[in-house]
Symmetry: C2
DNA sequence: ATTTATCCTATAGATTTTATAGAGTAATAA
DNA sequence: TTATTACTCTATAAAATCTATAGGATAAAT
């Protein structure tokens, strides 16, 4: 299961994607509409800003808006940002790789082989799942 | 990521699968060979027994052994037993289904649509990943 | 200056994960 | 029948993670 943080992030991103481009939206508006605790959402949006996905404007008329194109923000990136690796085992991740204690030879490990396939398929699907794609499916 | 519990369970099952059928193996032997805390492993094996996957014998010459055929034990079942649903969102699971707060119409939700696809693909792969298949890949 | 609204740090409660302790039960064999 | 072996069961505790909140700092607009 993805964390609530990731779920909130996706909901906020989809909400922002549906708005006219670059129009700043209040945190409070997103929080209310998507039923997200406002203070919690603040931290999430900040992370999305640091990741270069969102931008913000302070003061009156301020708020958050999408910096990247909805075509360039995919679920794999968002999930990794908040929940870490998508892989189900540490030995099949790229960035967070960790060897298994009991593993003698990784190249011949049947368990690893299975979970590597799962990871690859999942990442492929999640990469294709951009904000644009989600909104497009949203009918 | 799967929990250590699930990882331990898989390692123990693969270890038992490689042994001659129905020969009881000591918990301590599995624990030692697979680097699993023994007391923790005890609980795991008990769960696998309650799930009908393993059987056990008490007293001298006792231990655990595979009850089901390695062909009939797949990773989807094992993961669900210890970590719960495989789906990444509560609204795309079958058994643990939960509606999203903010969702107006599930049938048209683009987010759900994406994660339903991921779930279905993952489950399909994990169902095919039986103990027999894992050992077979293990070369 | 004042108001607005994001930014930042610290913290706390709740839940889950991982692990251990110790007594109980059943099977085996001498 | 007694001793030994090894699984069974309950309770608990330490550690880590997740979720959420509080309160002040900073920057932009009027």
């Amino acid at each position: 299961m993805i964390s609530k943080k990731t779920k909130y992030a996706i909901n906020a991103l989809v909400y922002l994607s549906k708005k006219p481009n670059q129009q700043p939206i209040l945190i409070s508006e997103i929080a209310e509409h998507e039923h997200i605790p406002q203070k919690f959402l603040e931290a999430i949006l900040l992370d999305l800003k640091k990741a270069g996905i969102l931008a913000s404007k302070k003061g009156k008329g301020g708020g958050y808006f999408l910096l990247k194109s909805p075509n360039d923000v995919n679920m794999a990136d968002v999930m990794r940002l908040f929940d870490g690796p998508i892989a189900l085992l540490p030995c099949v991740t790229h960035k967070y790789y960790q060897k298994c204690d009991e593993c003698i030879d990784e190249e011949t490990c049947g368990i690893r082989s299975v979970f590597l396939e799962v990871r690859n398929q999942t990442v492929e699907l999640l990469k294709k799942a951009t904000l644009a794609e989600i909104i497009n499916r949203d009918h």
